[in-house]
Each structure stands twice: as structure tokens, then as C-alpha cells.
């Protein structure tokens, strides 16, 4: 097992508001255009997936996902402390987002 370490500042929290699948994303930047908070910026490489520059400003309305034309290219990630739970009535099993 090879370890490595970097001098890195703490990330803003939550720091992972959306996941972009680079295999599906076409880099059209419709999500970048429509985001209310302007969280995303275009990738330095043409057609690359957008970069999440200001994840701490995301308010999770999902407009980026609504605007996306490529199914599965962008998904919203609920912050851990805000993931709601539910219980299956018949079995009593518990689940969460």
C-alpha cells in the first residue's frame, strides 16, 4: 500500500453538492448557465465536465439536474446531516436518502 500526503486547506462543507459523471456529461454547460447561485464553472478543457467551484453556496434546488439533457450526467448529493430517514410500515426496517 502506497501512501501520499498533500498540503491542502480544509474543504468547505458540504463540499460535494453534485456528482458529475464525466462519461455521460457532454460539457454543454446548461447546468452552469442556469444555476441560481453560480456554483459551477466551465471546465478548462473544451467539452470537459463543469467544475464545482463554490459548493458551499449550493442550496440544492436541483435546477442543474432539471436542465440537464443527459440522464445520469449530474446527480444531487444531500449533505449527510440533512439526509432524512424513513421506516417501512410492515417490516419496521429503516432506510435513508
Amino acid at each position: 500500500m502506497k501512501y501520499s500526503a498533500y498540503a491542502m486547506p480544509n474543504l468547505p462543507t458540504p463540499g460535494n453538492c453534485v456528482t458529475i459523471n464525466p462519461d455521460i456529461c457532454t460539457g454543454c454547460c446548461r447546468c452552469v448557465e442556469v444555476c441560481i447561485m453560480d456554483v459551477l464553472i466551465p471546465n478548462p478543457e473544451k467539452k470537459g465536465p463543469p467544475i464545482i467551484l463554490y459548493p458551499d453556496e449550493c442550496y440544492y434546488d436541483g435546477c442543474c439536474v432539471e436542465e440537464c439533457r443527459e440522464s445520469g450526467a449530474i446527480t444531487l448529493n444531500h449533505p449527510l446531516m440533512q439526509r432524512v430517514r424513513w421506516k417501512r410500515k410492515d417490516t419496521g426496517e429503516h432506510f435513508r436518502v
Binding site: N16, T19, D38, Y59, Y60
Partner: protein
């Protein structure tokens, strides 16, 4: 690979390069008949109204108008007299006047009541979905089989219509574009321009900052409409851990700040109410509760015991269908009203005691499994799905994670004792923080029957109006203000921009971009909120409020010059924070102006123990001219006789309720 650090490890230094052209110092000057500030539902409808009169129109929004202001959805159209409702426009405004002790905007609410049905039909014509055209709810008790409208909450009076709100903003945006409205996105409006650059004079335009390029905009107009919402960020800010709970993170204080600086008159800015601490809520409409979007969901305790319901007057009710009918003697349900004439059916009032006694065991759950099929489907899928921030974050995300409303009980986080709680339980939980959220009908601009403010040429609509609230009110008043601003623009003389005012504003706005280090906007904003928490909290007195002003002055003089912005996006956040400072001063000055306590306004002055004394049972207005703050009293019924006044100003308007 999409986080900044992943990009940095792949692209190295080039990932630090700002992706948009930098145009600091550059100017664009535009001239238009009508300038609309804010591209939410009020702004878009105002622009559409004015453009239909053949005028040139600009809409400036700091985000993107396609989704700005309720762009992720809205589930209901409230206070809407319509063919299937027996409630008249005059009756439709009563509940709010009664519920808030007279501190309601009867004028704008009446305009909305008169025209919100017309507005809805116009949005349908643009492409918004307002009817159950696919017959998904055929036969449901809340459906009008002829019109295919679905009604909500009160199935006897039908004053609220369920709608597919995710379709609304994209439809309005498209219509604006089709009508040739110039849509300026990412343009943060920084100030209003006035005749001769003087405070209190005619408004002749506005300045703006492009938050991607840093370019400065000067917009000259014959009429300007402020649709930039209310002040919301004054007490509450968390630099981290915000996530889902922030209802309107981009509504800070921009609209009130620019109008206050120009000399516009405000009222009810002293009002505040308890608010949840930022970062501790759960997804809006995304946890089990029986209210609003989730009305009338069955609630059960941890052992499956059903929590009983009572009607609006406290009488026990048993059947689910009774929850959606007013109590004996009640007129109709009024949104969130606690007034006995208008209160919704609800869970037993002593639920908290019963939980403490162990009668109902925590946690509670929303149980849609045994509800009638039409109620389950309309709550989960229609309401939770079409309300703002429910389609993707709640409906799609929970569904993908396996939530099934036929089988599963969604947990409620109403845990008593001030623990984290979801937004719909605000009435039951009183935490430390204060705020001025959308459900508190906060203060804002005062207008006449043309929705024109005290400043000639400046109109206002939506949540920019005092005691504004609701999407339907925003859309209807926006549509009305657009009409009135167009009439004004057609007859008003050309305006002249004062170059000195422009230059001073440009220097102010761009100064933080010249600094490489100093204080960041988040620390500034947190500090400004702390001043409000400590000197303008629940209990106030003159000395405390004045200390607050001293602190704000100190921050203005000694901190502001050191706030930096590395790029135009951060510069936008800095300017918003500057606006917050101005808004805080507006609020504290408004608090000083009311020399009495008021239960209705959540306003406690230690020197004035009597609540709502008759002398002060009035609106208190605040404005500034030549830097001097003035306040006045305005009778609570100043807009009466309401119907007659409306008729006088709208004799040529043709709509559903036109006489």
C-alpha cells in the same frame, strides 16, 4: 472529476484562471423604456406586461431568470378567487388582515385577489400547466371535473389551486424572450440612479455589476420596477453547513438596500419573528409533517398510534375528509393563519404535552400508506414534486433511494426542545434566532394604487412590497406593476443620468476587486448578522439599537475598505454583504422609529411595556432624504375603501372579476 481540487491536480495552474473574460472597469450603457430589477415571477410578469404595450424592456437578475425566484417550482396558487370558489376578492383579503392584527398589505393583496386568476390563465397560455389534463385525479374530491382544476386544503371554498409550478418560470422566461425583452442574467443591480443624483428624487435608472465578467452596467429608463424581494439575510448566516435548509440563499437585502439608499419609503421593517438557526433544518417539505405541501397527511408516533386532528376551532375530527373542510362557522382556510375564523384543521393543540407525558412516543412519522389514494398521490408526486426545491432534491432523490409512500413512513424531526426541525413546524418551536423569512410577511416598500413608491418612476412588486409573500401575489402584482409602469413610461419625459452619481457608484463597487487580501465576504456577513443578533434581537431598547448602529458605522468605516474579491463572483457576494449593512441600518432605524411594543410585529421595546397601544396601532414608515432619516405614521386602513380605490385606478382593465 469535477471538484476544484481534482481539477487543480489535473490542470495545475490553468485551473486557477478565471473562466470568463475579465472586464473590470469596462462600461455598458443601455437605454430602455421600462427597467425591471429582479427576474423572478414578479419581474418576469412585469416585463411581459410592459412589453405587450410595445415598450422596450430590460430585466436584470443576478442569477438567471429562467429559474430565479421560485424557478424550481411552486405547488399552490393562494388567495385566488375563481369560478369554482364562493370567496370574493374582498373576503379573500380578510383572513390576513385579521390574522396579523391589521399589519397586512391589503392594497397589494387586493390587487392580487382581483387579478391572480387572470394571471394564472395568462401563465397557462404561455405554457404553464395549471389543470389535470391527463385526468390523473379524476373523481377526487378536490377536483373540478369541468375545468380540471385541482383545489387544495379547503375543499369547500376552493380558494387555493394546485399547480404544476416547475413549468412556470421556464414558460415566463420563454415568453419574455419571445416578446423581445432583453434578459440580462448574472447582473447584480447595485444602485438606483436618481435625477441630479439626489436622494428622494425621480428614479431614472440603475447600475449593475456582471458577476462573471466584472463589467459595469448603466441602465437608463423612464420607469423602474423593483422586483428584488425583501430582506432575509439580516440575522442568519452560516458560512458552512448550510446545504438544503436555506430557503432563499440569494435573497440577502439587495432590493431594500438600493431603494433605501435612493430615498424610498418602507414600512414594517421593525417586524421580525423567531427563526431556525441556519444549517440545522432539514430539506424543505422533505420530512414528515402535516402542513402546507403535506396537508392533510396522517401523522403517527413511533408505535404507529395516529395523532388525532381537530378542526380550526378545536373540535375533534375523525375522518381524513373532514380535515379539508372548514369548521362550523368558519369562512375559509387562510394560509398559516392561527385566527379561529381562518385556521386550518390541525393536529391536537396539546401535542407537545402529550409527547412529554409519553402518550405519543418519538419519533413521529408522516403516514400516507392508509390515506385515500388520491390524497397520497396528490401529496407525494404532485405537491411534493411541484413545490420549490422538491422535484429533484425530494421527490426524485427519495424515490431513487427507494421511498414508497404506499409502504413507508417518512420521519418527522419535530423532537421538542429546540432540536433540529423541519420548516413546516415553525409555529410550534421557538428557537433563539430571529429572522424575516417568507412566512413572516416582513416589511418592505410602501406604494400607491399604481404600485408606485414615494419616488417618482420607481414601482415595486412581489416580495419587494411590504407584507408581500406568495408566488401568486408576486406574479399578479408584477403583472399589474408592469402595466402601470408602462402607462407612466408612455407619458413621462426623458430622464437624464447624473454622471457623478455613476462614477461614485462604479468606484464603490469595484474597490474590493483591487485588493488581493483582507477580509473575505463570509466573515463580513457573519459579523453583520452578529450585530443584529446582539443589538436587534427579540428584546430591544433605544440604547441597544443605537449600539447596533455604532457597530454598523464602525464596520462601514473600518472594515468595508479592507474587504477583497478575487473574482467577479466573489465581488458580487461582497456587494451583497454591503447591501446587508445598509439593510441592517434600515431595520434598526425602523425599530427606533416605533416607540411602542407590538405583539403583531414580534416587536418588544423594554421602555414601552404596553403591547399595541392605540396611539401606535398604525404603520410606521421610514425613509431618508439628504442622509436624514424621517419616519411617519400611516393608518392601517389607508387603502380603504379598497374596492372603490381599485376600480378608480383600473376602470379600463378587463378580467375575470371586472364589473
Amino acid at each position: 472529476m469535477s471538484t476544484f481540487f481534482e481539477s487543480f491536480s489535473q490542470h495545475g495552474e490553468s485551473s486557477l484562471k478565471w473562466p470568463y473574460p475579465i472586464k473590470y472597469g469596462e462600461e455598458t450603457e443601455l437605454t430602455t423604456d421600462v427597467l425591471v430589477l429582479g427576474g423572478g415571477p414578479a419581474g418576469c410578469m412585469a416585463a411581459i406586461s410592459a412589453a405587450k404595450r410595445g415598450l422596450s424592456v430590460i430585466v436584470a437578475d443576478k442569477s438567471h431568470s429562467k429559474r430565479a425566484g421560485g424557478g424550481s417550482g411552486v405547488d399552490h396558487w393562494v388567495n385566488c378567487p375563481n369560478p369554482a370558489s364562493p370567496v370574493t376578492a374582498e373576503e379573500a383579503i380578510e383572513w390576513e388582515v385579521n390574522s396579523y392584527g391589521g399589519y397586512a398589505n391589503a392594497l397589494s393583496r387586493y390587487i392580487a385577489a382581483r387579478e391572480s386568476y387572470d394571471t394564472l390563465l395568462e401563465i397557462e397560455e404561455m405554457g404553464g400547466k395549471i389543470r389535470d389534463l391527463n385526468d390523473e385525479f379524476k373523481g377526487a374530491p378536490f377536483r373540478d371535473e369541468k375545468t380540471k382544476f385541482l383545489y387544495a386544503y379547503d375543499y369547500k371554498n376552493n380558494i387555493t389551486i394546485r399547480i404544476w409550478g416547475t413549468t412556470f418560470k421556464p414558460a415566463m422566461y420563454k415568453r419574455c424572450k419571445k416578446l423581445g425583452v432583453k434578459m440580462l442574467n448574472r447582473l447584480l443591480v447595485t444602485s438606483l440612479l436618481t435625477e441630479d443624483g439626489r436622494q428622494g428624487e425621480r428614479v431614472v435608472g440603475a447600475t449593475g455589476l456582471n458577476t462573471r465578467t466584472g463589467e459595469f452596467f448603466i441602465m437608463k429608463a423612464k420607469a423602474v420596477i423593483n422586483c428584488m424581494s425583501f430582506a432575509e439575510g439580516n440575522w442568519l448566516f452560516s458560512s458552512e453547513l448550510t446545504g438544503l435548509p436555506y430557503f432563499h440563499p440569494n435573497i440577502i437585502c439587495d432590493g431594500p438596500a438600493i431603494a433605501w439608499n435612493a430615498g424610498a419609503e418602507f414600512t414594517m421593517m421593525e417586524k421580525s419573528s423567531p427563526a431556525p438557526a441556519p444549517g440545522y433544518q432539514l430539506p424543505s417539505y422533505g420530512s414528515g409533517n402535516p402542513k402546507n405541501t403535506w396537508y392533510p397527511a396522517t401523522m403517527v408516533d413511533a408505535q404507529g398510534k395516529i395523532i388525532p386532528w381537530v378542526d380550526g376551532k378545536g373540535n375533534p375530527i375523525n375522518d381524513v375528509s373532514e380535515r379539508t373542510l372548514p369548521a362550523e362557522g368558519q369562512k375559509y382556510f387562510g394560509d398559516r393563519s392561527l385566527h379561529p375564523d381562518h385556521r386550518y384543521s390541525h393536529l391536537v393543540d396539546d401535542l407537545e404535552t402529550r409527547i412529554r407525558n409519553g402518550e405519543y412516543m418519538l419519533p413521529l412519522y408522516a403516514d400516507l400508506t392508509d390515506m385515500p389514494d388520491h390524497e397520497r398521490r396528490v401529496i407525494w408526486g404532485m405537491m411534493v414534486g411541484e413545490e420549490g426545491r422538491t422535484k429533484v432534491p425530494v421527490y426524485d432523490t427519495y424515490t431513487a433511494a427507494g421511498f414508497d409512500p404506499k409502504k413507508d413512513l417518512l420521519q418527522s424531526y419535530y423532537m421538542l426542545g429546540g432540536e433540529p426541525f423541519p420548516g413546516m413546524w415553525q409555529h410550534e418551536t421557538v428557537p433563539y434566532f430571529r429572522g424575516r423569512g417568507p412566512f413572516a410577511s416582513p416589511g418592505g416598500l410602501v406604494t400607491d394604487w399604481n404600485l408606485q413608491t414615494n419616488l417618482e418612476g420607481l414601482f415595486a412588486a412581489g416580495n419587494a412590497l411590504y407584507a408581500g409573500n406568495y408566488y401568486s401575489h408576486a406574479a399578479a402584482t408584477g403583472r399589474y406593476a408592469g402595466r402601470k409602469a408602462a402607462e407612466y413610461a408612455l407619458t413621462s419625459s426623458d430622464s437624464v443620468i447624473d454622471r457623478d452619481q455613476v462614477t461614485a457608484e462604479k468606484n464603490r463597487v469595484l474597490a474590493p476587486a483591487q485588493l488581493k487580501s483582507g477580509m473575505d465576504w463570509k466573515e463580513l456577513r457573519a459579523g453583520l448578522c452578529r450585530v443584529m443578533q446582539q443589538y436587534c434581537g427579540e428584546i430591544k431598547n433605544e440604547n441597544l439599537l443605537n449600539l447596533g448602529l455604532i457597530w454598523l458605522k464602525d464596520i462601514r468605516e473600518n472594515i468595508l475598505p479592507n474587504v477583497y474579491a478575487h473574482n467577479p463572483h466573489m465581488l458580487g457576494r461582497v456587494i451583497e454583504s454591503f447591501n446587508l449593512l445598509d439593510g441592517n441600518e434600515l431595520i434598526i432605524n425602523s425599530c427606533l422609529a416605533r416607540r411602542a411594543s407590538s405583539k403583531h410585529l414580534g416587536f418588544t421595546r423594554q421602555e414601552y411595556q404596553e403591547m399595541d397601544p392605540p396611539d401606535w396601532h398604525a404603520f410606521v414608515t421610514t425613509s431618508q432624504k439628504n442622509g436624514q432619516i424621517t419616519s411617519d405614521k400611516l393608518s392601517l386602513d389607508y387603502s380603504n375603501p379598497i374596492s372603490l380605490n381599485y376600480e378608480r385606478h383600473n376602470s379600463d382593465y378587463k378580467g375575470y372579476l371586472s364589473h
